[in-house]
Symmetry: D2
Subunit: 460 residues, 4 copies
């Protein structure tokens, strides 16, 4: 057992993995514009956390044994790169599932704990691979034209299973080590081959990852946010991949198939809510800064819009705090956040996110998308004019204000902004899924009791 250094991580990527992008196989991942900065972020994460010694291990392998620890992890998570986040979330989701399928499927639960220890010992980075291709959404896995529309077991061997299918929206897959594969939804009797959860190394034979990315290809100065914070999105093809038994966590028990998705959903939404709370604050900060730069921070309707954003960010944070304050312990002593508060907060954060972005756009003005590029700002002839006309007053230089506009555009009104609008909604399932889960975990009987009491009616 030992932690991986920055160098060890970089070397670990040269493991034969098959990565594709923009119509070609990527042979040198570390120099490709779609991956270079993502790898750098993960490498920085390794460097920041590295401690020598056999006992050392990253904080992202912590399992919360109390509400305070849970809160601490959520706080730290905001400073981690995305792969470190998914490593923590994915493994906690697996452990949550383990707690929930015990004792019926204790063998799988034990394998999960073993796998957790393996990742921890080797300081691996994991991503969750959950969303299937799905084919026609009206039909269940077994009813599709193409039986591979959902990942399935195509062969069962004494020493393991062979899986086939595709997993979509797998952020960071190409720059991590492990794919934690789970069924995307509840399977029914007769769909045993689709009830499959397992862990697959990124470089396993048969794994092919096609990538897309919002990483800017050029003019990085005009993309102050996304040129630094970007991760490739992987379309993961499982072309008959063999998985040895010790890495198989479910292989036919349809009654547990939804447990993994629900467990992951909980942790993903919790993480997403933590990010939404921070993004909420960031949107407020951007709105206030640009209002101050424009000289409108005291204008009544601007103040009202910022107050609306303040209340949004605060409510999402309140939901997060309540999710932790109402966490519950598993028999193992592991703490899981409240499903109800997590889902309610995630729903509010996601549903209102686009309106908060709208408020920022309304406050900032058209220069969000029309501010001249930083290169023009430095041009000998027109640069001085841009500085002159983008400046507004003592203390607000043209350059500062221009850079602020670029940050707002990059964060909310360009490729990265668009990616955020979609992923904020979709992470952990769309709005519908969050409503469903919130409703399921709501104490409806208590609400009905209150209503009957108010109505002066005995319970029916």
């Amino acid at each position: 057992m030992a932690m991986m250094s920055r160098e060890a991580y970089l070397a670990s990527l040269e493991d034969g993995r098959r990565v594709f992008a923009e119509g070609e196989e990527v042979k040198d991942l570390r120099s490709h514009p779609q991956f270079v900065q993502a790898i750098e972020l993960v490498a920085e994460g390794y460097a920041k956390h590295y401690k020598p010694g056999e006992d050392a291990c990253g904080p992202y392998f912590a399992v919360p044994h109390g509400k305070d620890q849970l809160k601490e992890i959520l706080q730290e998570l905001l400073d981690w790169d995305m792969v470190t986040v998914t490593t923590s979330q994915g493994l906690l989701a697996l452990l949550t599932a383990a707690a929930r399928i015990r004792p019926a499927s204790a063998v799988y639960a034990d394998r999960i704990e073993g796998y957790f220890e393996l990742c921890k010992a080797q300081d691996l980075r994991c991503v969750q691979a959950i969303t299937d291709a799905k084919g026609d959404r009206r039909l269940s896995p077994s009813g599709q034209d193409d039986p591979d529309a959902y990942v399935r077991i195509v062969e069962r061997r004494p020493d393991g299973i062979v899986v086939r299918g595709a997993k979509l929206h797998i952020s960071s897959a190409s720059v991590s080590h492990e794919l934690v594969v789970m069924p995307t939804k509840k399977m029914k009797p007769g769909e045993e081959d689709y009830a499959v959860a397992c862990a697959i190394p990124v470089n396993a034979p048969g794994v092919k990852i096609v990538n897309t990315s919002f990483a800017p290809r050029e003019r990085h100065q005009d993309f102050p946010v996304s040129s630094r914070h970007n991760m490739p999105e992987g379309f993961v093809i499982l072309d008959d991949v063999f998985v040895p038994n010790e890495r198989v966590f479910l292989a036919g028990e349809v009654e547990h198939s939804a447990t993994f998705a629900h467990s992951l959903g909980l942790w993903e939404r919790l993480g997403a809510t933590a990010h939404l709370a921070e993004y909420g604050d960031t949107l407020v900060g951007l709105a206030q800064l640009i209002a101050e730069a424009n000289g409108t921070e005291r204008v009544s309707h601007i103040r009202e819009k910022i107050a609306e954003m303040v209340i949004y960010a605060t409510l999402v944070r309140a939901g997060l705090e309540a999710a932790i304050a109402n966490a519950e312990a598993s028999p193992e002593g592991w703490y899981f956040p409240s499903e109800l508060f997590t889902n309610a907060a995630k729903h509010h954060g996601a549903a209102e996110f686009s309106t908060m972005v709208r408020n920022l756009h309304d406050i900032g003005g058209g220069s969000i998308v029309t501010a001249p590029s930083i290169a023009d700002l430095e041009h000998a002839e027109v640069g001085p004019f841009i500085r002159k006309y983008m400046a507004t007053k003592e203390g607000i230089s043209g350059e500062y204000r221009t850079r602020l506009f670029h940050a707002i555009r990059d964060f909310t009104a360009d490729a990265y902004g668009g990616w955020q609008l979609v992923t904020m909604l979709q992470s952990g399932g769309g709005l519908y899924a969050q409503r469903l889960v919130a409703r399921k975990h709501y104490p409806m009987d208590e609400a009905k009791r209150l209503a009957l009491k108010l109505a002066g009616l005995a319970e029916v």
Copy 2:
């Protein structure tokens, strides 16, 4: 020191107080339809809490010395009658103000503590009297045509002050003992006579209270909620009322004038948020019950609307929990809830309340306002038809469903429902006030720091 019994309370109302309603002075409060049930509620509160002995005192005089105590008070408060709630809120607001004006105005702070002990020793019920008549809102108190538009000191004597003016929206004034008078807003230099806070017995010479009420005058069966839960609203006239020094808590120090209103605002909004959370749950319960009674509880759009209501109620509750979790202690060791979370939660609860009521109305259907009266249900000829046609299925009788509709109408679509729509918004100030306070207490510098970091800009 001793607690008041039910009988003692009833007797205490015969103290010469001057109460008016519907164009007449009310001589026998206890038999008047506008007051009979309100008095009964307060009396029940006394009966429920009564403990004999010199050391006994009501839990509504507790001052929270920790977050758990604060949470406990909020939980208990939901079961108290409204005057007991305002007693607790009003006195906690006074103590909060005391903590905030110390040491500059220690004399007042000490008087407040003395007054608190008096109320506790005699088990009195208090209401806050804060909103002034206000005249033309564009003008400050000293600029009004009528100098009495805000309550003011018209005479200063060695032993006390004489005040004149009116205080509006004073719920329950006529059935309580004490008016805790505070300035409605910040006064400026030159408005010393308007910077006045004090405590006035309801029966003090010069006090006249004109009442309105949503209490149903007849057909109580059709008003299952408001026939039981109603309180008169008092328009309190202070016709040159003398207040002895020991009951004067501010008399000219304009710099402290806003402190009282802010302190009261905090506790009022906290209490309102606690009620909104419970009302949110109640609305959910009513929606689910009526959907089940109609047979629509599995219809997709009905489920979605109920899920929306679930998320609303849960978010308000999350805000309440976060307000308590982030409570802060005064030097005296008294715990005050977080201004930020309290105001954000109150704002959300109030701003979306009418939409939640709309959802309930959309789910329930037209019978909310057209269901035949209970008396018709009992009519020999048409009663059986009403029972037949209002029934929907096994287990849902016509009577049960009819009563449920009356409860929904009474709670949300009749006199009491209208009173709630308005007071939910206005309690603790309108939406604007809550935005203002939320924004004021928001950690804006931290948000700006986050935004600057994201933008890759050094702080300005």
Copy 3:
């Protein structure tokens, strides 16, 4: 053929109709507090429109033969009492249905035209009776525990049919002459007895009407709106009522069962939209008046809220204008408003109505529900104080402002206001129904074509 005078109308009510309210049969309708003002409104309508002579007929019998006529009717309708409105709507709905079921069911269509002429010749007032008791909403009419949950034919005779069941939410039934009965929804094969449309005189044997009303029973001065504008809601019991053939418009043809409901839905929603547009303007007017009375009409957040209300009212009106501008003619040359625009406008008007009411409440302040009664305003001792403290400035007397608050409360925050919140949503079906119809009539193919063109894709 002749128009009915005020006196003739009053006399016509003494026709043996069976009316119930508050647990008793009402023998003298014209002196009963639930009916007296409703009858007066209808009588005023007769008086206003009355013209002598055999050729005279009310404008509410006009059938629009062009867009301008359609617009004119909608304009006039705003000044009619509710029974006159439903007479026009109900008959136009019948004619619309006639146009739609021709030529397949020409006999029925002809009977409808004959019935229309009858009502016109006798100057009768009609109400639509459409909503059935419905029982368990999950089940269709034929699947209910009680076969009478939907109005049905229980006997077919050579000279007519006998119907049984109940119709709910029948506004004004007790003060009108005719019940236009229609099926509430699409019936399927096997439900022929439920596919029934016909016209029944209010005094037909077997008709019993149980009434509820938001009419204030006392203190009419405090209810300036509802003491004048109120109509009883009828729960209409059809206890085996015989209908002669010439009044039967559908008796088993399930394929036409939905046509009546859709036709009525169109005219009801159009009328509701016309009212919503006027109510929208009225809410704006009240908001502006109370802001001016309070002295806040120039406060920025107040102005913004009023502007929001202005935009709401204007959009609803725009929808109404577009519904007329896009009206379509039947083969008979009758003009029907656009289903798409009518439903979109009605949906927006209904869905946002409660938020507009909230804005008014936020702008007006707590006195909406706490303003002293008009009787108190006239009290010798406290009246002058109320006038003093409710006044705000030159030109805004205490009485004027108090009366304005009462009007706002009565219109939006008391029994009538609650009735409006519910009926605005439910008239013409709830929000769901309006979404459904809007979607159905939307040119989806054109929208898909636009999208495919944008995407650079050939049509699939």
Copy 4:
């Protein structure tokens, strides 16, 4: 007088104009990636409209003399390139201003008509240059640190004026011929030099345009919308530009300074509303297509969201129709759309646009931002897998669905999508401006009259 051909237009760009982008002066506009497609679009517009002969002129020079003509222009406008749209809007705005400043400033009005004839005779393309740099928004033009923060006259000569300053957000400036310069807002006495309106050729000495663009630089297949529809945004520097008298339309008359902005605002908002209506339909179409491709078009919550979008698009269109139906004629017989309906519709369209985009994102799913690129779709090894897993059923191929996702991303969740989010809000002024104008043109007196009548109050 003659129309310009495609070739003539391309040649006309070689006129010495000074254009900058990405830190360099652009010498060959026609081959630069930021301009090539924009120029192509304008050239196509010329080609499409070209008619030979001296009397020929483009339909974009039509001045509506009736409501039908107005409607026709709005319909045609949707098929024009953006410069053709701004040519029509800019000139109609000038004519509107001319009508409004007559007779006081008849000289200017005549010059405007002359300029209109010039543009028409030479078939020129114009853009409006209105937004100033503005400096500190709290301060008026004359109070700024930098007197050039608003464009101003720095010299008055017998034959013309010299202007200095910058105009921002000038879409398409670099590919058009004429800058129609107007004051951005009302000027006050003492600010005569800022009250300046005039027309400046793009190649006039002293004009320098710095450009930005959301045009994709590569992978055009993945940007099916923006690779075709893009226009550069110009930051226009007026470095002491001389304007001869016949091109000066205002030079010091502060009382008319707002007239130009208001006139332009009207036409810009009308055009924006026309586009919003079409975009609304396009969003509906995309939502329906992707739902069908996913197999979710019958899922209840998906249908509800699409219905919401249908209602949105329909309401915006209703506003447009009402704006035309309520158009008013100037003394010249020119028809201007209704300010009230135009602003209400634009506000609704802009305010809710982001929520409609959110609905599309919620319906479409994560593949909107993670679908593999078209190049990958064509890769020999992974292409077949992508086609296999992106396909969903008979008739929905993997390629079709992938391309649809790219179109949605490009239109709503990438650089072009972000540009739209901002410009939809900001075109014609932000939401605040639209509220202000809607309120200003609303018949408030009529609304107050309605409210007073309802309240039973005589007018104050």
